[in-house]
C-alpha cells in the first residue's frame, strides 16, 4: 500500500476534531492520544472507502467515540458502583465534587474559558461522559442511556449534577 502521503493529509485534516472528542470524553490527554491513534489506524484500514467519502468526518467521530467508550468499559463497573453507592452516610456527593472543581480552579491560573475546560475534564466519569455526549456530541438523553447502557433517569441525574458543578464557573454574560 502506498497511501501514506494522502493519509497524512487526511490525519492533519481531522486530527483536531478526533483529539477534541477523545480528550473531552476521557478527560486525559495521554489516553486521548492513544484513542486518537487507534481511531486513525482503523481509518487507515478502511482508507480506500473513506478517502473520497463525504461522511469520513462522521465515521471518525463515531469511531473515536466508540474507542473511548470501549476504553472506559473496563472502568465502567467501578464507575457504576461508585455512582450508585452514594448514601446519606458517606461524604456528601456535592461536597466531593465541589472540592474537585475547586482544585481545578486553584491549579489553573488561566482565564474562565480554560478554567471551564479544565473543570469539565475534572468531572467524574459518570458525569463528564453523558455531559460531553449531550452538549458536544449532540446525542439525546435516550441515545446516551442506550449507548452507556444505563437508565434514562441516571443519565438525566448525572448530567444535571455535572451542570450544577459547572454552574459557578459560568460568567454573568452566560446568563443573558
Amino acid at each position: 500500500m502506498t497511501n501514506a502521503e494522502p493519509f497524512e493529509a487526511f490525519v492533519r485534516r481531522y486530527q483536531d476534531m478526533v483529539f477534541a472528542t477523545a480528550v473531552r470524553l476521557l478527560g486525559n490527554p495521554a489516553d486521548a492520544e492513544d484513542a486518537a491513534q487507534t481511531t486513525f489506524l482503523r481509518a487507515f484500514q478502511h482508507y480506500a472507502q473513506l478517502a473520497a467519502s463525504p461522511s469520513a468526518g462522521a465515521w471518525l467521530k463515531t469511531t473515536v467515540r466508540n474507542v473511548c467508550l470501549n476504553h472506559l468499559t473496563r472502568y465502567r463497573a467501578r464507575w457504576r458502583l461508585f455512582s450508585e453507592l452514594e448514601t446519606g452516610e458517606t461524604p456528601r456527593y456535592e461536597d466531593v465534587l465541589e472540592s474537585r472543581v475547586s482544585r481545578a480552579l486553584e491549579t489553573e491560573h488561566a482565564d474562565g474559558v480554560e478554567q471551564l475546560e479544565h473543570a469539565v475534564r475534572s468531572l467524574p466519569d459518570h458525569q463528564r461522559i453523558p455531559l460531553v455526549l449531550f452538549h458536544f456530541e449532540e446525542l439525546s438523553y435516550d441515545d446516551i442511556a442506550r449507548t452507556l447502557r444505563v437508565s434514562l433517569g441516571k443519565v438525566k441525574t448525572d448530567i444535571h449534577r455535572g451542570r450544577e458543578a459547572l454552574r459557578r464557573l459560568l460568567t454573568e454574560d452566560d446568563a443573558d
Partner: protein, 132 residues
C-alpha cells in the same frame, strides 16, 4: 424539568459551545504515521489468510486437508493387508488403531503450540519494535 433546569441547561450549553477546540499534541501525527507504518509492515502470518504468500497458503492447506480427511474418515485397515497375514491384523488392531486418536491429538496440539509460539514471538517482537 423545571424552568430553572432548562435555564441551567441552556447556560451550560452556550458556555461549552464557546470553548475553543483543545490543542492537538504535535506528537499525534508522528505516532499515527509510525503505527500505520508498523501495520503496513506487519509479518505475513498476522495478516488475513488471503494475504499470505501463495506458498504458505498452499502449505497451510495440506495439513488442514489431512486433518479434515482423517477426522471424517478414520481409515479402516486395508483389506488386503489384513487378509495377508494374521500378524498384520494383530499389529493393526493392537498397536496402530488404538494409537490413531492419540496421533491425531498430538498433531493438533503441535499445530496449536506452533500458533501460540508464533503469536508470542510476534507479540514480543512487535511490542519491542513499537517501543523503539
Amino acid at each position: 424539568m423545571t424552568p430553572t433546569d432548562d435555564d441551567l441547561e441552556a447556560r451550560v450549553d452556550r458556555a461549552l459551545r464557546r470553548l475553543p477546540q483543545p490543542h492537538t499534541p504535535p506528537t499525534l501525527l508522528p505516532r499515527v504515521m509510525a503505527a500505520v507504518d508498523a501495520w503496513q509492515h506487519r509479518p505475513w502470518y498476522t495478516r488475513a489468510w488471503f494475504a499470505w504468500p501463495l506458498a504458505w497458503r498452499v502449505i497451510s492447506i495440506v495439513p488442514c486437508a489431512l486433518l479434515v480427511y482423517f477426522a471424517w474418515h478414520v481409515p479402516p485397515p486395508p483389506a488386503q493387508v489384513v487378509a495377508a497375514t494374521s500378524a498384520t491384523r494383530v499389529l493393526w488392531d493392537l498397536v496402530i488403531a488404538p494409537l490413531l486418536p492419540y496421533l491425531l491429538a498430538i498433531v493438533l496440539l503441535m499445530g496449536l503450540a506452533c500458533v501460540v509460539f508464533g503469536l508470542a514471538l510476534n507479540y514480543v517482537l512487535l511490542e519491542r519494535a513499537e517501543q523503539r
